[in-house]
Subunit: 341 residues, 2 copies
DNA sequence: ACTAAAAATACAATCGATTGCATCAAACCA
DNA sequence: TGGTTTGATGCAATCGATTGTATTTTTAGT
């Protein structure tokens, strides 16, 4: 009773026909007459046949499956990216295998090997923080498996990259604060060795410049952008000689830490100080007041990544044109920054 | 150049030996001498060989892979359950395929079919809200693939179930509030047709009873437990004739809505009203004050589910003993409920 | 040195589905 | 009616790895 999986041969035997005909019928080939097709389909249902994709994929040398690796599936940005990928993949008849590297290079390497061993048709990945080079992609590259790297800048020559325009996001955020009437805007910046934070700083500066507000070095406060950093920075803000009326934080978490401190000190948000964060983390909408922020368009980035991958799936590897796509983030205006209207 | 995947036959040919020896060497069988083993391994590395798991799994009739289906990977409870599963699986040399049903029965059915077609060795699932019966599991059952259902009660006779003890969680929460000195505790309850909310209500009652506090029907406020429900309920709380000094909410989101309203009305938390939520959602720790809550022990439930699955994987299906495991949740005491010490 | 036992390797079938080619039957036309 | 075209089905190789059995080589024992 144990080993009773039904194969096409069982169906063939039951109907006294050849298994190749069964295979063709199940794949709806027009080389099988309608009559026998129906007979086969009925019998397949009756026996509870389920195609063995291992065998099928092995033979076809194609799995119709793509692998997705992200640092953490629980992060909002990543889970929405995954949803975007799944949507696109589903439309094209592909399955998606989701994996998380937990920001560990070793796990990332293992996952890539496993996906490769399972012969996925392509991989979409946001690399871990520990990933400094891309040597572990070489195997895939060699056998022509296309790869799309999203969320994190990759400087290899022949890579497909889908990135967020941090500059524009920061520009929009700062510009919005200015349009709300802010004159003295502090920027919470992150580790300067990371591209994203440098670009967000640039966007902040550009917006000031557009409105002919002089840039003041002392209004840029650096930290690792944890929640407690936000609290400490808010304390600093209140001690600044300029009377600060706006904060653009390079992430949500620090903005929230600051918001809580400021509220405790009786500062009214947004009336006294308007705040905009960055990332649209799960908490930002729940805060009181809800935090304005920059949405990283995870869903859109996921869809674009998947589309880019599919473009390459149908092209011989030698003929593939690597491409970099820059996604514009969108400003989510909520209560924490509305001084007007 | 395109189709250049290396197989064991390529290695065999390069070394003028038989591919079966190569296979055995790569599997570290003791039927191959150390000398040839080394030769083979070296050549495999040199050629960049990567095992084709499709072929291997097909032949062995075993994939060393388990499938996990959850409604949403982004929910904290599920992502921690997945982490628990992955940890356990990794130790046993299994891979994990993660899927999300998005609470849709149709997607769940598709996922189960795909996993079955890919011949996963077992499945761990938290069923979608739309799932009212388990007919779509029949195929798996027929070919002996073990299934573990977690998080949601399942009344089928031969099912493995890993559940949270909602009663105990609610009891602990309420008991904690009483021990903090609360006398008049409101309970925010959810849809009464759901088991979980009925059990949480029971736990609340039991804790009152233990401390000989009379149960008052009017202190149980029903809603769908959305954030805005929390706000409305808090309003009600303030209008109650009893002077309420504690709230046990059957989830975090409603607790947070209530907290924000109460703070706005000048109520001090926890001094005037202590609050405990349920679920340990991502937001609870970030609130001000941080919200005490019941942690659903996702990680532990994941580990237990995986262990239960593995127990069954190594046993013939006829000999399997279905088992139900009840997990005790743990109380996370944070600021929102500390009236003492 | 010769045989028995042990170790190492080779052979060939197998897992389940797919697919190019061959075969057979039915239909068509002159 | 006989030959040809079209349509439907069968045959057999194949994908890449595994594994029971057979064969060869090595080692050991007397």
């Amino acid at each position: 009773m144990e080993n009773n999986t039904i194969t096409i041969h069982d169906i063939a035997k039951a109907l006294a026909i050849n298994s190749s005909t069964v295979s063709r019928a199940l794949n709806n080939s027009d080389r099988v007459s309608l009559k026998t097709k129906k007979k086969i389909l009925d019998k397949a249902n009756e026996l509870g046949y389920q195609r063995n994709l291992l065998a099928s994929n092995l033979r076809r040398n194609k799995t119709n499956t793509i692998g997705v690796i992200v640092p953490r599936i629980s992060r909002y940005f990543f889970s929405s990216a995954i949803s975007g990928i799944e949507k696109t993949a589903f439309d094209k008849g592909y399955n998606v295998i989701i994996c998380q590297s937990l920001e560990q290079l070793e796990r990332e390497e293992n996952l890539i090997n496993t996906l490769a061993a399972n012969r996925v048709d392509g991989i979409i990945i946001s690399v871990s923080m520990e990933t400094l080079n891309y040597d572990h992609f070489d195997g895939l590259k060699k056998n022509g498996t296309p790869i799309v790297i999203f969320d994190r800048h990759c400087d290899l020559p022949d890579r497909n990259n889908v990135l967020l325009d941090d500059f524009v996001g920061a520009f929009e955020a700062t510009n919005h604060l200015i349009e709300q009437g802010c004159k003295n805007i502090v920027h919470f910046s992150g580790p300067k060795n990371l591209n994203v934070y440098r670009n967000r700083l640039k966007g902040y500066k550009a917006a000031l410049e557009k409105h002919e507000i002089p840039f003041r070095e002392n209004l840029v406060l650096n930290s690792r952008l944890m929640q407690e950093d936000g609290t400490k920075l808010a304390e600093k803000v209140l001690r600044l000689p300029e009377s600060i009326d706006g904060i653009f934080s390079a992430n949500d978490v620090a903005a929230i830490g600051a918001m809580q401190y400021l509220k405790k000190k009786g500062i009214q948000i947004p009336k006294d100080i308007a705040i905009v964060g960055f990332s649209n983390g799960p908490t930002s909408a729940v805060m009181d007041p809800p935090l304005s922020t920059i949405d990283q368009s995870g869903g859109e980035m996921g869809e674009l990544s998947a589309n880019l991958l599919f473009e390459h799936l149908n092209v011989e590897s030698v003929k593939r044109e690597p491409k970099t796509i820059i996604v514009k983030p969108s400003l989510l205006v909520r209560e924490s920054s509305k001084k007007r209207g």
